[in-house]
């Protein structure tokens, strides 16, 4: 009995000693992007009782993977609403896994939006277009939140740039996000080029696009790809660049 009480007292004293250490460690973990999930009432409502307990007890990755499989099954049955709910849960549980954000955005902006546009149950085109735009926005929202959780990784910036380019036809925003991706470590070598391509479609920013494309062209053979030369030629004509300052025509045949 006495030994039990002494052991309890030791545990309490140890608890008081470890408290600031654990608190500092938790802060350090958060600072370095560990413990990205806040276990609060909002998460509890999103996950349900069982999922919350499972996530809380260290099975976060397993719960997220299981939900991902469920989301895949929902996709096969074209249950877009269920997919949205599942992907919100998945990304909440695993905010540092880029695949989940990217896949969620792709499903919403590419698959669900096309399904909404081809929905035969909705005879009014205006409403179909509205539904399609809503799915674009959902895809964009996933990517923006993904970027907020992973500001140091270029992949989601690239995905958002693609979404702006292909779905919104917003070349200025696409150029902006490709440029942001290009500034990050581990960025793909083509991000800088793609940013310049997108800028070359923007009305009023042709001069800036031309200068960026030309600087890439001047880097050497490796950057002188057919699309880059084609966009440069278009801009040379548009900006009426003097003949002696233009790139050689022969390269067009490369």
């Amino acid at each position: 009995m006495t030994r039990g009480l002494i052991a309890l007292a030791v545990l309490i004293v140890t608890g008081l000693l470890k408290l600031p250490v654990e608190r500092d460690l938790a802060a350090l973990h958060r600072q370095e992007h560990f413990r990205g999930v806040e276990f609060n009432l909002d998460l509890r409502e999103k996950l349900g009782q069982l999922g919350f307990i499972a996530a809380l007890s260290g099975f976060r990755a397993i719960v997220a993977d299981s939900l991902f499989i469920q989301a895949h099954a929902a996709w096969e049955n074209t249950q877009w609403g269920r997919m949205l709910l599942l992907f919100r849960q998945i990304t909440t549980l695993q905010p540092r896994v880029l695949l989940f954000w990217d896949t969620a955005a792709w499903h919403m902006a590419w698959n669900a939006s096309v399904a909404a546009m081809n929905d035969t149950n909705q005879p009014r085109q205006a409403l179909r277009v509205k539904a399609q735009r809503e799915y674009f926005a959902l895809g964009k929202d996933f990517l923006e939140r993904g970027i907020k959780n992973n500001p140091d990784r270029p992949e989601l910036y690239e995905a958002l740039a693609r979404l702006y380019k292909e779905k919104y036809k917003d070349h200025e925003r696409a150029a902006e996000y490709y440029a942001k991706a290009a500034t990050l470590p581990e960025a793909a070598p083509w991000d800088r080029r793609f940013s310049a391509y997108e800028l070359s479609y923007c009305e009023g920013r042709e001069r800036e696009a031309y200068e960026r494309l030309l600087s890439l062209y001047d880097k050497g053979e490796k950057e002188r790809l057919p699309t880059l030369i084609k966009r440069l030629k278009v801009l040379e004509d548009k900006l009426a660049i003097p003949e002696d300052q233009r790139i050689p025509d022969t390269l067009m045949k490369r």
Partner: protein, 226 residues
């Protein structure tokens, strides 16, 4: 998860079984101090955990290597007509997403969490009356340990709340280990790099808990009537 489960199940059976089989009397009748008996028991489980962790790591690396090779071959086949520099970039990206050196500290942290659970289970089993009791208590501790960080934050941050709530939060925060601190591998797999500071501090916390719970187990075992 498997190492944690193994740590709890393997340890919870040790003391009650030795008492039931009366093996403990045979051992302690010889000039073996109780301290050595407990340390020997825990060392055996830690060795078992180390071997099982190594086997799992070897299997994991073998699967990872095979998957990497398959993806490399598929990528090389798909991009056969692409310029060499683009192909090299693609292959580099595949290699970068396969084995990550940060997995090594992540695995060590998993092992340390299992060591902590082993020591804690041994401590619980020194005053438990049966294996089932120890396992049930450890399952509760496992869940509460993962909740400890949340309880600690609420206890230290929230000034409101009733007295009962605050006392409960304080008990959880003081008596239980923060097991969430050892769940780093999920984020490492997702690409988060682990710094030396994070690894060292987490590892030291794991060692600290293991030592404290082992000493407490020895202390309680010395007073146990056999």
């Amino acid at each position: 998860m498997f190492t944690s489960l193994l740590a709890i199940v393997a340890t919870s059976r040790m003391l009650p079984r030795d008492i039931e089989d009366r093996t403990v009397y045979t051992i302690l009748a010889k000039p073996v101090p109780r301290f050595e008996y407990i340390v020997g028991k825990i060392a055996g489980v830690l060795l078992l955990l180390a071997i099982s962790t190594l086997i799992m790591v070897a299997a994991f690396l073998a699967v990872l290597y095979m998957r990497e090779q398959a993806v490399l071959q598929a990528t090389a086949k798909q991009m056969a007509s692409a310029p060499p520099d683009q192909l090299a970039d693609a292959l580099r990206a595949v290699r970068a997403s396969a084995f990550n050196v940060d997995l090594v500290p992540g695995i060590i942290i998993i092992f340390l969490k299992a060591c902590l659970l082993t020591a804690l289970t041994l401590f619980v089993s020194t005053f438990a009356t049966s294996t089932i009791f120890t396992i049930v208590v450890m399952v509760f501790i496992y869940f509460i340990g993962h909740l400890e960080a949340t309880a600690r934050e609420y206890w230290l941050a929230v000034h409101g709340g009733g007295l009962v709530t605050r006392v409960c939060l304080a008990i959880v925060a003081l008596l239980f280990p923060d097991l969430q601190a050892f769940n780093l591998v999920d984020d490492i797999i997702a690409g988060t790099a682990i710094s030396m500071a994070v690894f060292t501090k987490t590892a030291l916390l794991g060692v600290f808990y293991t030592v404290i719970y082992t000493l407490l187990a020895v202390f309680v075992f010395y007073g146990k009537e056999l």
